[in-house]
Symmetry: C2
């Protein structure tokens, strides 16, 4: 984790002890106001997204009205009662908001009737008996779900507050809201003060119900922790859970869930205690948190599956919709956020959502989410490595190259330093496998992580990075990996035609130093940007170096003269994930090695320098997968046995294929050759060449990064000179 | 092929010798008129589809204007010159039509300038030297492409005819159009008179240029053949190339291409010789031809990959767009065609396309293409078997069950009698493999059929039908299969809750009779329609019967206690396609056998009665695939060794899964059991049962089909009585 002590102390001084008056109590006042409800009502028929969201909300309630209301006795996780209570709070929130928008008392009545049922049930409940080793709720097995319930219901209650008779409000507060808020913040004080997103859910829900009930004691507990000294509480969480640039250490898949309580509570604070200036807190850390999430996403809005993560979680998740709308309103109308909203095709129902829907409707064509290249560093001075993203192109057609060289990522971390992912042509073409989990599918180990998550998905060979001696980085040990983050080398996106990022990993394999430099090159003679990759491994002892490229789609052509293991197949190894890969074919590597595959409407060619003795293995996942848990996907491994080695390669997207149109163009690449011209302690020089007169010389420094250092390398009678971390000659920019 | 002698003679008498005056010559007059062009111009900004199509056409021409015009010397198929000439005729057609719509002379000039270049090149050309064994063109290696060129260019010429000075017209006709029309209809008379879609391209193109030039000799040759006696020509092609219900014998993938010349020439005839009433010809055979194509399509518009066919060819192909628009105008505004047009999201640029675009814009929500159940018989009396399609549900959410029991299909035929395909939840969930071909991808055997088309895709095991003794139907011999069509048994879609189709195949395996009855059942206690399948094989000798179910997506659960071939894999057999399937796992079949897989957002469970000694094999395609030509897809095989056997099974779609939403519901099926209660010469009776009190009794007659025959079967002390071909008891309809 990062150290941010200085920052949090400063923040503490600025805010904790300041008087922060709560504005006069009006209802609704934490998420949507009467005026916003009226504005939405007046806008219906004008903004297509808003119309659809309101219509969907009404349909949800029509369906709810048509079924008997049920507030069952608590049950087990994932069972009927559990799901019913979840649906109940969602429906109450929807009903409350629709009441504010439409004024239709059926919606208010729905909230009241359901709260009535809860006010009978809740006082009868003790701690849930099936909590296991988690903090228990009462309605739910874990207090996290209880906080989810309270957060949504606080909004619902706020919406119907003025409509309810005082006697009803008293009953609900006495029987449900105060006991629940006390349960979360007093009985479960430890969980409440925890610096973790579960703690954020607890503080947000207690703070929000505090605002609605007009009880500042709950609010202050939520803001400053149970001891009111900011050793816990929402502000402390804002201090500690993000790196200074807003990056959430567990990765984009995890920030998604946390955005909901952070933004929901922040919005309530802004409305009820504007003097706190919560959106400006810690240098606008909430803005940075959202942007860091959005800025890691692929051009189609899907989050890269860094570490244990789903391959499909995307910015259209409701938590991100909330954060995008609120950030758009609170931090200024940013075209990139509007582009994100266009992908989301969804808004929240308050004034912020209305603004987004309105501005989306203003655009003749849907706004594009065009993001730039960006690096997220881990740790306040960047010593924890980072995550580099190079981008070129516009909107969904953009190309994105991501390299991971940050901290390990705790128990969810994968052993994948210097791993890369390539997104092009609307698809993740060199993919991350993500987690081995069929999430929430009961017959697949209860929807939890599968054994293959440990034995395959976390292992180094499941990624696009070099594996030494068929073993996983840091021996596959979390603790060792946590202590050995990769190191940033340089990141330079200043020239849109030649962008580069470089990192080192010297502590993943004993006695082996690794430096990877990846470039994204646009040459006017090529239809698409090209990935250039210089992966340098150095050791005093001989090792087996496996350089894998995972892909999807169909292998189209290769110049490898392989032996197909066509009538009998066995795994390529016996451990470290190798046991899960069938050996489909193998052969000696030609010089240069070429492989073309088809993915979607485009061809991709991997072309690599190879040396005598190099071997190529074509594999497919699925071996030793007795429960059919793995996805069946192909990969290629370039295997070298050497002390040191520079893996020099390119990936060229090319051509077009449409099966329905029966059109195929340019199935062979323009680039033909990658040669290593020089490789030593001073620098590496490679040449990439092909048709159309293309001949690039790519020079990368292997010494400590310096933008001004001069480098001189001689090889085969030629000399190469450049200044700075890298240089590329021969790229035609127009 | 079918016999339709009687029909064609009648048609001949009615039309061939009748006087059929050509209407007064106005230009443009074969595809679009000046009035239609003006109407389109006046409609811009009103109908989104039309706007987009016009915008795209203009962009195409902007791009064409920005490059030097090139009319190169002829070259090889697929090479630059070949592709350039193809693009040239497309651009001329686009330019001509845009000239009529916009009046912008840049477009007319483009057509003139290009025709100028062709009028220099064409007179210098002889027969193309690379024709091989095909009829040669001059610009192209085969005359088919020459006809494509002439058809498109006839439209372009028609559009700019009045704008061109007489001298230019004379030049083009003398140097290009007449020589080309003569080449196609005189030099290549045999090809011209051929009853084949290549002949249709030739007649259509010659007839259309004849209309534009005002030369009825070409028109009459096109209509009635080179001998003007209707032994060849367009009308004869209309007589012979379709079954009486319009079904095109090679299947939907093939009719798609043929629709273009049929409809394009018909439209020209209708405009220039309306007295011919071409759209009414042979009982509106053109209408039937289009509908039979559209009606075989899946709810998403994709054509089933019957025989050698692409898995993705769909009704949005430009040929089908043309036919849908023209049929919509000429045969009346049919809501189903409008639904097809909504899927196409495309129109042609003439009055017909304008009508479709206008009516699409009228609909608040996009019209749905909701098709009913339908059977296409092969041969005039249905003795050639047929193709049965059961459907339920609306629009893209409909479920479609298709069974193939028709003629073999010539050299493109697959050995797949009684094969079925299931489409549900927007996907082809029990798929047809289609052809083994990466169409037009040069490195994959030049984009032609791959060896695996013969060794796998055509074989019986590649389909969802029983394989006897691990050998392919009819020994994999086309001639034998052509002489042994399957037989219709019955088809009854009268009850929307219980629809059934049944067929027999007694000549596919010597000494083995097969009858398959498939039902699509909707029960109010189930979320989705269920497939019920009774596949009865009868023999005097013991055989191995393999019952395969191909699927996509991920295997989720099975009750088979299998041995996973997890660390070494070999093919499940050595020939008949078996050599291409890896044996992933195998085990004894439990009673009943259950397997659940996930495909898209839905789970599917196959539940089958099994008998002692039955075996289950889980396989995956890709063995003996040394060139990576096959797609890697899973299947399950239920293997029985017996003399006779009733395979009784169901497929239940259930639940919901969304990985991005992390929601999973009902991953286990409602149905639990399938039991065979009785099976004999009189009939088969099975019971399907599950949760929610479901208990269906399904009775099927095994005697000759009769809607009124009474059946009585006794078994285990129970008696079962029903009238007609089948009966189902216990289905809750509401």
């Amino acid at each position: 984790m990062i150290s941010i002590r200085r920052i949090s102390l400063a923040a503490f001084a600025a805010i904790c002890c300041a008087a922060s008056p709560v504005v006069a109590q009006t209802h609704p006042g934490i998420f949507i106001s009467r005026a916003e409800g009226a504005a939405i009502r007046a806008s219906l028929g004008k903004y297509p997204v808003l119309d659809r969201v309101v219509r969907d909300a009404k349909l949800t309630m029509d369906s709810a009205f048509s079924h008997p209301m049920d507030v069952p006795q608590p049950g087990e996780a994932g069972g009927y009662a559990h799901e019913r209570h979840k649906q109940n709070y969602r429906e109450m929130q929807t009903a409350g908001i629709l009441y504010v928008i439409t004024g239709d008392v059926r919606y208010a009545r729905f909230v009241r009737d359901m709260l009535d049922k809860y006010s009978i049930l809740y006082p009868t409940l003790g701690p849930h008996p099936l909590a296991g080793n988690q903090a228990p709720g009462k309605l739910f097995h874990q207090s996290l779900n209880e906080a989810n319930w309270l957060l949504a219901t606080a909004i619902a209650y706020d919406c119907v507050y003025d409509w309810l008779p005082l006697s009803e409000r008293k009953k609900f507060e006495k029987n449900v809201f105060r006991p629940m808020a006390d349960w979360l913040s007093v009985n479960q004080a430890k969980e409440f003060d925890r610096i973790h997103n579960h703690g954020t859910w607890a503080t947000a829900s207690v703070g929000m119900i505090g605002y609605v009930m007009g009880d500042t004691s709950y609010v202050n507990r939520a803001l400053y922790g149970t001891r009111r000294d900011k050793t816990g509480g929402f502000l402390r969480q804002l201090d500690l859970l993000f790196s200074p640039d807003g990056y959430y250490m567990e990765g984009p898949y995890y920030i998604r869930y946390a955005l909901m309580p952070f933004y929901q509570f922040a919005e309530a604070i802004e409305r009820r205690q504007p003097s706190l200036k919560i959106y400006d807190y810690r240098g606008q850390i909430l803005r940075k948190a959202l942007y860091s999430a959005v800025e890691t996403s692929f051009p189609n809005g899907v989050f890269p599956a860094i570490n244990d993560a789903s391959r499909t979680m995307a910015i259209n998740a409701p938590e991100v919709v909330l954060a995008v709308d609120l950030a758009y309103r609170r931090y200024g109308a940013d075209e990139r956020l509007l582009g994100a909203a266009a992908i989301q095709n969804d808004v929240v129902l308050n004034g912020a959502g209305l603004e987004v829907a309105r501005d989306l409707a203003k655009s003749a064509t849907p706004p594009k989410m065009t993001l730039g290249s960006v690096e997220f560093t881990n740790g306040p001075t960047g010593q924890g490595g980072g995550l580099g993203i190079l981008r070129t192109g516009n909107g969904a057609d953009a190309t994105m190259l991501l390299m991971k060289y940050g901290v390990h990522g705790g128990g969810h971390g994968h052993f994948d330093q210097l791993h890369f992912v390539l997104f092009d042509g609307g698809r993740e073409v060199v993919p991350d496998y993500g987690f081995a989990r069929w999430i929430n599918i009961e017959p697949k180990s209860g929807g939890r992580y599968l054994p293959e998550n440990d034995t395959y998905a976390m292992q180094t060979i499941a990624h696009n990075t070099v594996v030494v001696d068929e073993t996983t980085q840091n021996g596959g040990k979390d603790a060792a990996a946590e202590n050995a983050p990769a190191m940033r080398n340089f990141f330079d996106a200043s020239n849109p035609f030649v962008q580069a990022m470089s990192a080192r990993a010297n502590d993943q394999y004993k006695g082996v130093s690794m430096q990877r430099t990846m470039l994204l090159v646009r040459d006017a003679r090529l239809a698409h940007p090209v990935v250039v990759d210089l992966y340098r491994v150095v050791s005093d002892a001989a090792h087996t170096y496996d350089f894998p490229v995972h892909f999807r789609g169909q292998l189209i052509a290769t110049n490898v003269r392989y032996t197909a293991h066509a009538s009998s197949q066995s795994p390529i190894g016996s451990g470290s994930g190798y046991q899960h890969i069938w050996n489909t074919a193998s052969g000696a590597a030609p010089e240069p090695l070429r492989m073309t595959w088809l993915d979607g409407n485009r061809f991709y060619s991997f072309i690599s320098a190879a040396a005598g003795g190099d071997e190529v293995i074509f594999g497919r996942t699925g071996a030793n997968d007795s429960s059919f848990n793995l996805m069946s996907e192909p990969l290629m491994i370039l295997r070298a046995k050497a002390k040191s080695r520079l893996f020099a390669s390119v990936i060229e997207p090319h051509g077009f294929f449409s099966e329905p149109e029966e059109r195929s163009l340019d199935a062979t690449p323009v680039l033909q050759q990658v040669r290593v011209l020089a490789d030593g302690a001073e620098g590496s020089v490679i040449e990439v060449s092909g048709a159309n007169g293309i001949r690039w010389t790519v020079m990368v420094s292997n010494t400590a990064p310096s933008a001004t250092g001069r480098h001189h390398v001689e090889a085969a009678g030629n000399s190469y000179d450049w200044t700075g971390n890298f240089a590329v000659e021969g790229v035609k920019q127009r």
